[in-house]
Amino acid sequence: MAKLNDKMKEEIREVVLDFFAEECEIDVDQINDDSNIITDLGGDSLMFLALIEIFTQKYGQEIDLKTIGKYSIKHPVETIGELIEMQLQIIEHGNNIINLD
């Protein structure tokens, strides 16, 4: 588990925005927290999986994807803001994310 300071949170946010800007072929300025990943950005669910893999490698985590899947049932991710929030939770809590509720 990683304790995140403001600088790290901002860095994570930038990674997410840059990722979607590149994958969706749009300017990063066109993305904000309310942007719907599918309907506004033309994103897809594979992108979520790719991002999880990027961050688990970056932070050396061993994440059981199923815990994230189960967590997302109660905390659906539709917008960029929701995705960033979930990503922060994953990095901070790892597989314990499922026990957060």
Binding site: S45, L46, A50, K66, T67, G69, I73
Partner: protein
């Protein structure tokens, strides 16, 4: 640098400007629409991506996808970008074989039509479908299938955590629901009723094989063609016939195909078709490589 031309199956998400791109490259797309009209007896000459009704017609979607693929691979080769190897994702096999010169364009159209006819016959009276599961491994999916005794199976593995499943519709729906409860990140039904790459289509084998033997002429391929069933290169007419036949009802493994291409030294993949589905799947491939969908290929031309 080695280049693979990879061919998508029928496309669920178009970029929207594929026809303009093909026109700007100088392809024969419109001629292929005319040719397809002559072969099928249906009018494809007025085809436009703005009229999305075709996406609800399974056969039409497949034919359109094939036409996009053949048009693109044609013009790329004509303009000097030649592949070192070809690989088709599911029905992308037909365009791969056309590109290699194994079959004519007309034969590809006829194969797609006949495959559709025999498939529909095989599932007459059966409500079937396909789905996508993201976030579970194949072992986890197979455990759910076995535990719940479901008439469904893995049709294709895109990556370690991305699979397509096929079977009876009730079973597919149940599999998707249990997968989500088990922790899949996303599950969804595909917009297709035919359960490709599943044993529900095993009954197509003898009729389709006979059709191929009687009606389709093969030539030697100009470029190696990789099987998405067993990742071997298809060489003899018998192997090609077998691949075409088994492609309907046999599980395929695109992940293994992609990794085999990387092992062969390919580091540049050209997605020869509409959309970017193969580029999206390739995110999970190991190593250093680039994938070029249709809107990025012009920079590759000599």
């Amino acid at each position: 640098m080695k280049t693979a031309f990879i061919f998508p199956a029928f496309v669920s998400e178009y970029m929207g400007n594929e026809i303009q791109i093909l026109d700007s490259l100088g392809s024969h797309f419109h001629q292929y629409l005319l040719e397809t009209s002559k072969i099928t007896g249906d009018d494809f000459t007025g085809f436009s991506l703005e009229n999305t009704a075709f996406t609800q017609d399974e056969l039409c979607s497949q034919l359109i996808s094939y036409i996009f693929s053949c048009s693109l691979s044609d013009v790329l080769i004509r303009r000097g970008l030649k592949p070192d190897v070809l690989a088709g994702y599911s029905m992308g096999l037909y365009a791969a074989l056309y590109t290699g010169g194994v079959i004519s364009f007309d034969s590809g159209i006829r194969l797609i039509k006949q495959a559709f006819v025999v498939s529909k016959l095989a599932i007459q009276g059966i409500d079937s479908g396909m789905g996508s599961i993201i976030g579970l491994t194949s072992n986890e999916i197979e455990t759910i299938i076995a535990t719940n005794n479901l008439e469904a199976e893995i049709a294709n593995t895109n990556s370690r955590h991305s699979h397509l499943v096929a079977g009876e519709m009730g079973a597919v729906n149940h599999l998707l629901a249990v997968s989500r409860e088990t922790g899949a990140l996303n599950v969804s039904l595909l917009n297709v009723k035919t359960p490709y790459h599943s044993r529900l289509l095993a009954a197509t084998q003898s009729e389709f094989q006979q059709f191929i033997s009687d009606e389709i002429k093969f030539s030697r391929s100009k470029y190696p063609v990789l099987s998405s069933i067993n990742q071997r290169m298809l060489a003899s007419p018998e192997e090609i016939n077998s691949e075409l036949t088994r492609n309907l009802f046999h599980r395929i493994n695109w992940m293994n195909s992609f990794e085999q291409l990387l092992q062969l030294g390919v580091n540049r993949f050209v997605e020869c078709g509409a959309g970017k589905s193969l580029q999206k799947i390739s995110r999970f491939g190991p190593g250093d490589f680039s994938v070029y969908p249709m809107n990025k290929v012009e920079k590759l031309l000599p």
